[in-house]
């Protein structure tokens, strides 16, 4: 044991006759995991520092007289660890007996039942029955409302401290504390204040039992009712990985799906609790077309023929420039790419955008810095509060960078000159600049000046909308073609298209998943009532679906398959978590078939896979990225 190891040398340890090599400084728990030996834990958590309070993970280590906590003991060379001895078994049984002494065991009404570590470990290692004659358990309050999002059942708490440490180590907000002593210890907020955090939804996930639960998921389902689909959070461009848990084609909850490079297993409440809008049942359910006076449901093929007819007529009468194309950043890469193909190659119009406001000067330089790379920079400069308002989970990454990685994080107001940053950045060699997309030019300029001062510097801008980055990469923007090639003749941006439509120079509009927010915009309303032909693919009822000349039922992000690109340029898959309530083809197919009906066949099946190959051909950085890699846009010019 006393052998002195050279730093970086792997340590050889034996766990139940299995040999593994682990890095120095690893925990016995990590070594067990590497050896494939399961050790039950309550208080330990991969993202939190060890405290070793629950004593569930005790194992036998040769040379140590007492059992040691696997979650807090570091390995040493030649360590002999045993997890299956009678002593360990006895101890686990006794520990569980103590935990259950005052536990209410109301599993049948507990939201955690079916996925609870206390149930599982009792089943696996527990005594099955109690020996104590206590009939009157210690009781605490049940269903305490900590906020409108989180409920706490104080009786079910096993005092693992995870929630307390989460608030201390991950968000830094310290809203939950342990109070009282001994058998009366309970978890509560400080002075019964309501939780304020933007990240409360992570609490029920880290709680190993049913003490902290989601108000929104209360009594919604049992784990065996749920169908789990890995996807991406649709609420912002940060690209947090989620599981969509659905029961009967309704989303019951979003759960986090740890991706250490993006979300580090935390979600913000805005994203986590955003799914009710995807469960709405007032939807466009049929292809419809305006025939004679009113609009009627028609067959999909007829809707296609009518849409193609209308576009051909407008192009014949007024030229290709009289057709405008708009989508929201909620479309997938494949859909965005086909929309831009439809506009530029099929119809021949340059008027195409994924948002209303203009967005000049786009370049891959604006997101060369990755989210996980923030932790590796000596310092991070955040311009204003817009980045963290746009993507709240960024706050947790910055907090980790600052506290766990001990880097400098400077939050500076907009317009801070580079010169005034040089002093606080004294001694740093690399710096990351984080800004909202609206400040992209300022951020790039700041980064260049810092680079001029000898620092290695790069930028991460945060875009607005789930797949805004993908839309920009793939040229769903009037001034750039796919891959940020400048367009020979730039078209009009979103608002200009609407104004031209209202003024009569744009005669036909194609809307793909229009943003419901646009309906509040008078320009949108004016444009929609003026255009001759309005072709709409949307899931939602509203102004666009009412005014459409040809309407296709669209799919929500939970109902389609494809890829989306996060703000750092990471291409991630969204998968079909729900089946729509109508039997009509997905948006991607509508776009592909519309091209065919207009006389330019796509050449491949209009499915996510084949269309992605087209994308990879047109935009080489996208090659091979669809498994969740960042597109590599090459070294800065």
């Amino acid at each position: 044991m006393a052998a002195v190891e050279a730093p970086g040398e792997l340590l050889r340890v034996t766990i139940d006759d299995r040999q593994v090599e682990v890095a120095p400084g690893s925990l016995v728990w990590d070594a067990c995991e590497k050896a494939g030996v399961y050790v039950p834990v309550y208080c330990a958590h991969k993202k939190l520092e060890p405290v070793a309070v629950c004593r569930m993970c005790l194992v036998e280590i040769e040379g140590m007289p007492k059992l040691q906590p696997a979650c807090a003991t570091r390995v040493s060379q030649g360590m002999q660890i045993r997890t299956a001895t009678d002593q360990v078994r006895d101890f686990r049984r006794g520990n569980l007996e103590f935990l259950l002494l005052n536990h209410p065991l109301d599993c049948p009404v507990c939201d955690r039942g079916g996925e609870c570590d206390l149930q599982d470990f009792t089943q696996r290692y527990g005594p099955g029955r109690t020996r104590s004659a206590i009939t009157d358990k210690v009781h605490f309050d049940k269903a305490v409302r900590l906020s409108d999002r989180i409920l706490l059942d104080q009786e079910r708490c096993i005092l693992c401290w995870r929630c307390v440490r989460y608030y201390e180590e991950v968000t830094g907000e310290r809203e939950i504390v342990l109070q009282e002593r001994g058998v009366h210890t309970l978890v509560d907020t400080f002075e019964h204040r309501e939780l304020q955090s933007e990240f409360q939804g992570n609490l029920p996930e880290i709680c190993p039992v049913g003490a902290l639960t989601h108000a929104q998921y209360r009594f919604r389902a049992r784990p065996w009712d749920l169908r789990r689909t890995a996807s991406v959070c649709p609420k912002c461009s940060y690209g947090c990985n989620i599981f969509i848990d659905a029961r009967e084609e309704q989303i019951a909850r979003f759960a986090s799906n740890d991706n250490p490079d993006v979300d580090d297993s935390w979600l913000c409440d805005r994203g986590r609790y955003s799914f009710p809008e995807l469960n709405r049942t007032e939807r466009v359910l049929n292809p419809e077309a305006r025939l004679g006076g009113g609009r009627q449901p028609v067959a999909h093929s007829e809707a296609l023929a009518r849409a193609a007819g209308a576009l051909l007529r407008v192009r014949g009468d007024h030229g290709a420039g009289a057709v405008g194309f708009l989508c929201s950043p909620q479309v997938t890469n494949e859909e965005g790419f086909l929309l831009q193909w439809l506009a530029r190659q099929v119809v021949g119009s340059p008027h195409l955008d994924h948002r209303l406001e203009p967005l000049p000067e786009l370049s891959p330089e604006q997101f060369r810095l990755g989210i996980a790379e923030l932790e590796e920079r000596d310092a991070v400069v955040v311009l204003g509060d817009a980045p963290e308002r746009s993507a709240p989970v960024l706050t947790l990454r910055l907090f980790k960078t600052e506290t766990k990685r001990r880097r400098r994080v400077l939050r500076v107001p907009l317009g801070t000159p580079a010169a005034s940053l040089l002093e606080p950045l004294q001694g740093c060699r690399s710096v990351g600049v984080v800004a909202h997309q609206e400040q992209r030019s300022e951020a790039v300029a700041l980064s260049r000046s810092l680079a001029g001062a000898g620092l290695s510097s790069s930028v991460l801008t945060l875009v607005e909308g789930m797949n805004a980055r993908g839309c920009q990469d793939l040229g769903v923007s009037p001034a750039v073609l796919p891959g940020y090639q400048p367009a020979a003749e730039p078209g009009m941006h979103g608002r200009a298209i609407l104004e031209a439509a209202a003024a009569g120079s744009i005669k036909a509009l194609v809307l793909l998943s229009p943003d419901p927010e646009w309906e509040r915009d008078p320009a949108f309303e004016a444009a929609l009532s003026e255009v001759e032909a309005l072709i709409v693919v949307t899931p939602w009822l509203g102004l666009a679906s009412r005014q459409a000349t040809v309407l296709f039922p669209g799919r929500t992000v939970a109902e389609k398959a494809g890829t989306v690109t996060s703000t750092e340029g990471r291409v991630q898959r969204v998968r079909t978590a729900l089946q729509p309530r109508f039997p009509f083809p997905p948006d991607l197919r509508v776009l592909g078939e519309l091209g065919g009906a207009l006389g330019t066949p796509l050449g491949v099946q209009p499915l996510a896979g084949p269309v992605f190959s087209l994308i990879a051909e047109a935009v080489p950085p996208y090659r091979g990225t669809q498994g969740g890699l960042r597109a590599d846009w090459g070294a800065p010019a």
């Binding site: 049948p108 009404v109 049940k142 209360r218 009594f219 065996w224």
Partner: protein
Amino acid sequence: MFRELLGGLRTTMRAMTTKPVTIQYPEEQRTVPPRHRGRHILHRYDNGLEKCIGCELCAGACPVGCIYVQAAENDPQHPVSPGERYAVRYEINLMRCIYCGYCAEACPTEAITLGPRLDLSDYKRERLVATKDDLLEAWPGFRPLSQGAGEGTGSPAPQPTPLGAGSEHRGPAGRAPGLNPPIPVRPDEGRGTPPV
């Protein structure tokens, strides 16, 4: 040849004089054994609160997956069941059920049991999906457990049948009340303890 003919006739004559084994079903019902596993019953406590707490353990235990439960939170002013949770929707697909009784076994509150009702046929498939209204004991006016026919035999009491007057269920067994007289349950004759 005559001999065979007479032999056949004798059999016929004998059958004419014996008591028939058939009954005038459905006006008449056969007596079922006390532990008969027929259509399910959702029970109430004596104060009328539902025993079911919507925990879905029955649905989890069911080998064919024919139970659907949707739980909800009790309104403390007007609780449906004791405690925090109750079942807003409770449905059993009687066509798929194999009447194994695992659901009753799994239930932590003894809310569900299998009852005497065995005539499960209908002209419409949809009506063979029994809803909570179909399965729940009627209230008021149900026969509490303590007055059950098997009282005092030392074995689980036979199910009080909810099919008497005041029962308001529609669905499989509930239509045309005249045709569905209560099913008599044979008193438990010491069959309470299963053979080891």
